[in-house]
Amino acid sequence: MIKKLVSVFSHGPLHLVIIFVALIWILPSVGLLITSFRSSADVAASGWWTVFEHPFNFTRYTLENYQEVILKIGIGRAFLNTLLITIPATIIPILIASFAAYAFAWMEFPGRRFLFVILVGLLVVPLQMTMIPVLRIFNKLGIAGTFPGIWFAHTGYGLPLIIYLLYNFISGLPSELFDSSSIDGATPFQIFTRMVIPLSLPALASVTIFQFLWVWNDLLIALVYLGGTPAVAPLTVRISALVGSYGQDWELLTAAAFVSMALPLVLFLGLQRYFVKGILAGSVKG
């Protein structure tokens, strides 16, 4: 009993430090969320923390900011654009990468090692090295500023990491699996669709969340290959433009930012496990 008390007290500072750090980390986001539900008059008159004086006074909260940013300022359209960009730009590279990772892991061909070393090097090539030539080709092909253009750009840029992560997983599958099935007369494609893909679902889930969040949150690639036209611009591009033009209207900026954060946060909280696994596979094993 006394021992327990002593341990609680001696751990007091530990709890304090941890809770303090956690508070610092979460407060800025709490401020954003609260501000997005306050009226513009309130936001201009007092800080968001003052709502805690009467936290359940619901007359002080409003959905007007969301209405305005989604319907009038074009965040609704931008949300749709982000979805239209993100879904194909997640599916296409994962499809292409799984074929490549499978071949790298379980097939023999001349130059296999050499090509893989190049792939590992490409993992860290800054996108800035590629933007001007790719943009020039896009302009010639007439796909700059279009969704297919950015789908392929995200595919090309996402492939090194996705192949690498899937390779790590697929090459770790037990070789007896392939041994017995190729004796049974299964073709390489059948082995791929019937065994490799089903067994790799955890790894596929990891890279899917990775690529989805990466594309959803991307600013640079969208700025360069899509530009700011409202018909195609995703959330990140629209919101960074709003920061310039609505610089002091915090209730609108925070609402717009929250619209862009909601889906990633839900995904993150629901699938954190796979996200963490992906990060660990990518950086510790590598």
Partner: protein
């Protein structure tokens, strides 16, 4: 001999060719082309030798971008890695570990643009007469201090404030990796040291840290690569004004605002040169790993 699936000669190429084509089209060829056009004028018509590079190393704004990138590396890498490590080790001792880790890790899920809005609001500044709605200045007012325009006071405070946004985003990433590595340390080892009367502090420095050194090195290189390419945070929060310019934002401006493809390419090449040591480390690590296989 490693087991491989028996295939026709052409089959592996069918599997890798879509990926190989896209990698060549989006990464290999453009990178080579960028090196080439960095020796040409703004529209790539006239060969001008190393003039673009001379510009990069003499122009005042370019030099200040290099300085700021160096400041980012010096502050950001040690801060993210050490905070990530400390939080990983401390959180391991409490029952609500997973909740704390989720909170620290959460910024990784949102965009840098979103993070930029969040923190611009934290740093919001109004004149002394008005109520402070940014939390940092509200805290200062509470202590009877004058509010500060955090993002404008150059050159140290505003750059430091931007770096802190990066730290807020990336510490969770470091924490996750370091935490996994920490949990891999055999418990008996730490218990034995405790029985021998070593203080927690000593255990951390003499046992935990040396054992985690390889992972710390991996995380530090990853963070260095990230920070050299830093763009979004600066683009959204200050757009490089008030002496906060960084190399990647400068490249974007040369490309899209000044339409000088020669200079923009030269900046990209310099960025690559800064990152190449990291690429070499990456490939070496891969080779070692293959050797173990």
């Amino acid at each position: 001999m490693k087991f491989v699936i028996h295939t026709k000669k052409i089959t592996p190429w069918l599997y890798i060719s879509p990926a190989a084509f896209l990698l060549f089209f989006f990464l290999v060829y453009p990178s080579i082309n960028t090196v080439y056009i960095s020796f040409f004028n703004y529209n790539s018509e006239i060969f001008i030798g190393i003039k673009n590079y001379l510009y990069c190393f003499t122009n005042e704004i370019m030099l200040s971008s290099f300085r700021n990138n160096a400041l980012w590396v010096i502050l950001f890498v040690p801060l993210t890695v050490s905070l990530g490590l400390i939080i990983a080790v401390l959180a391991d001792r409490v029952k609500y570990e997973s909740m704390v880790k989720s909170i620290i890790f959460m910024p990784m899920a949102i965009s840098f643009v979103g993070a930029g809005v969040i923190w611009k609001f934290v740093y919001a500044y109004r004149p002394v007469s008005a109520a402070q709605t940014g939390i940092l200045n509200a805290v200062r007012s509470f202590f009877q201090l004058e509010p500060l325009p955090w993002l404008i006071i150059r050159p140290w405070l505003n750059n430091f404030c931007l770096v802190m946004v990066g730290v807020w985003i990336w510490t969770g990433f470091c924490m996750v990796i370091l935490s996994a590595s920490y949990k891999g340390i055999p418990h008996e080892l730490l218990e034995a040291a405790r029985v021998d009367g070593a203080t927690e502090f000593k255990i951390f420095w003499k046992i935990i840290l040396p054992l985690m050194k390889p992972t710390v090195a991996v995380v530090a290189t990853t963070m260095t690569i990230n920070v050299l390419k830093v763009f979004d945070i600066v683009y959204v929060m200050t757009n490089g004004n008030f002496n906060t310019e960084v190399v990647a934002n400068r490249m974007y401006k040369e490309m899209f605002i000044f339409r000088n493809y020669g200079r923009a390419s030269a900046i990209a090449v310099i960025l690559l040169m800064l990152i190449i040591p990291m690429i070499i480390i990456n490939i070496q690590r891969f080779r070692e790993q293959e050797a173990i296989r």
